[in-house]
């Protein structure tokens, strides 16, 4: 019996030793095909799946090997583990959308120390842990676009209210600052009457929107700047029977808002084209690995999408895109 127990243990050790003695360089193949690893915040997220479609397009055009992998559970350390596995796997470049800014930077710095090129997209890491950040939208770009769209929908006059994530959320505060700047600069006949938090909950956004409408009878528009708030506000307007009277615009995903946009409750949804984000990210990662993209460059040409501006170490995707009744069916994310 004792022997039977020891046999597999012995086999296991043999396998281990045989495995360990394998030289890591024996894996290298004759031709050098670039391997680029793309890390989403969450693998099943529709937003990142549509990023992946663009990324695959770029990978096909460039002839690079693309790995797309990311957390499927809620473990915040998972991204680090995946990056560390990629380091051992010996990929050429890593493009990461970071869930934990400081945490992931530890692993990304390690990758850089091993000669792997690192860029970030969607959500940045610490600046010293990556070469470039593919910035999908500057706060200024988002703020201005939202305010301009609000003005267009309301005919540049009347009262409007904002539903935000929470009063302290860093992103939202930054956007709000630019919304207010644009308002003061260009639209004197419009008035911001209230800013309400929804805690990133659709239900709460709906309650807040209902309260806003009864407290401000002259309200002409609700601007929702947290993604669950857009369908939430739209549902409130629809139930109050005020579609067309109180307009809804916001920052969110087309799929979540498709119904309301097609029903004419929500006028438009603003976001960037996620496919383009994935495409640009892979193009930039490949160029970086091939030495075609270097620190200090001021522009970058990404295949069929044309030329993008680089500000410092941020590659800018450009102005956000407006999804409305006419074009929303062309997008699925």
């Amino acid at each position: 019996m004792k022997k039977l127990t020891l046999l597999p243990l012995f086999l296991f050790l043999v396998a281990l030793i045989a495995g360990c003695s394998k030289s890591p360089d024996a894996a290298g193949s004759g031709e050098r095909q670039l391997t680029i690893a793309l890390l989403p915040k969450a693998k099943g997220n529709a937003y990142f799946i549509s990023c992946k479609e663009g990324a695959e397009k770029a990978a096909k055009e460039l002839g690079v090997d693309l790995i797309f992998d990311g957390p499927t559970d809620t473990d915040p350390a998972r991204q680090n583990e995946i990056v560390e596995n990629w380091i051992t796997l010996g990929v050429d470049a890593i493009a990461a959308a970071c869930e934990n800014k400081e945490g992931i930077s530890t692993a990304l710095r390690k990758a850089q120390a091993r000669g792997i090129k690192v860029i970030t997209y969607d959500a940045d890491a610490m600046p010293d842990a990556r070469a470039f950040f593919v910035n999908q939208a500057t706060p200024e770009g988002i703020g201005y676009k939202l305010m301009d769209e609000a003005a267009r929908v309301t005919g540049e006059e009347g009262e409007f209210a904002i539903i935000t994530a929470s009063l302290t959320a860093a992103n939202q505060r930054e956007w709000q600052k630019h919304i207010e700047a644009r308002l003061a600069e260009k639209y004197p006949k419009m008035k911001l009457v209230a800013v309400r938090p929804c805690d990133d909950l659709k239900d709460k956004a709906q309650t807040e929107a209902t309260a806003l409408m009864s407290a401000n009878p002259n309200l002409k528009l609700i601007m929702a700047i947290a993604s669950p708030a857009v369908p939430g506000a739209a549902e409130a307007v629809k139930q109050a029977g005020k579609a067309g009277q109180v307009h809804v615009i916001g920052l969110g995903l087309p799929n979540e808002n498709r119904r309301y946009v097609k029903d004419g409750v929500t006028d438009s949804v603003i976001l960037w084209k996620t496919e383009d984000l994935g495409y640009l990210t892979v193009q930039a990662a490949a160029a970086l690995a091939q030495g075609k993209l270097n620190a200090g460059d001021t522009s970058f040409t990404a295949g069929s999408l044309g030329t993008f501006e680089i500000k410092g170490d941020n590659i800018l995707l450009g102005t956000p895109f407006v999804f409305n009744k006419e074009n929303i069916d062309q997008f699925d994310f």
Binding site: P8, F12, T106
Partner: protein
Amino acid sequence: MSAPVKTPQKARGWLRHETVLLVLVAAEWMYFNSVGARFGTLDNTFDILRHSVEIGLLAVAMTPIILTGGIDLSVGSLLGLCAVCFGKLWRDAGVPLPVAVAGTLALGALTGGVNATLITRLKLPPLIVTLGTFSLFRGVAEAITRGVDTFTGFPANFLFWGQERWLGMPAQAPVFIVVVVAMWLLVHRMTFGRTVRAIGFSAEGARYAGVPVERRVAMAYVLAGVIAALAAIIYTARLGQAKADAGTGYELFAITAVVLGGTSIFGGRGSVHGTLIGVAAIAVLNNGLVHARLPREAAGVLTGGLLVLALASGVLPKLWSDWRARRAVVAAAEKTVS
């Protein structure tokens, strides 16, 4: 006469479970080694070890608890709370790191003590108590940081323990080995182990045999608290950050590893080395999938499959011999009839 015959049979069954699992891990290893070009390298072996230390610690701490017939759902949340408090002590209270480490371990003992008190004094079921503290500990961690505060910027000599190598191996490995050896001795070579098993088989029986049941059970939970705190410190060093979401879902990974390792969820039977093989089975799978370029989603399916397979392998031989015995009886009966 029947009793002495039965005991070795039981022991053989137990050897068999761990043996089967070890074969499965070896098969896993060989498969990934043949598919992934760099899977079998020493670098990757150390990656696997590095990534399994926190869950390994929690699983090892969970083993005596499950042996008593209890469970601790709060260890993942406790890891989060300890990580946050460690960060708070170091950054906001300005305490030197060694003192912060000691304070965090003390906090682990204290919170483990909360579980222990509720379970042994108020006689509440461990499942309910730790389900409560599962929410409570995570909630406190979130309240302390308001969900957004992140502790970071730890000095290099601290990060060393999570990220660097010491004597060629991951720096956290020696800590893990010490805890595993200590726990193994405690469970397999000392009265503590015998008594927790006895409690798992029958708490009342153990009490009549003079075992201080409450004290032993309490000790298992306090120990789990301290080890979870240790895991929190290593986690913080590995990631270079402490945040309220640290260790989310780790309790289930730990329980899976323990059960996979052959410890009966009803208590009484199981081993620390079995748990260790269970941890290895899951860690190798998680890592190997990346190297084999297989979808990560498969990890859940395969872990579940492995669990079912390992559990079935423990039961099937008995079913088989029962069936054969029954057939022999039927055959004999048929013979007499004809």
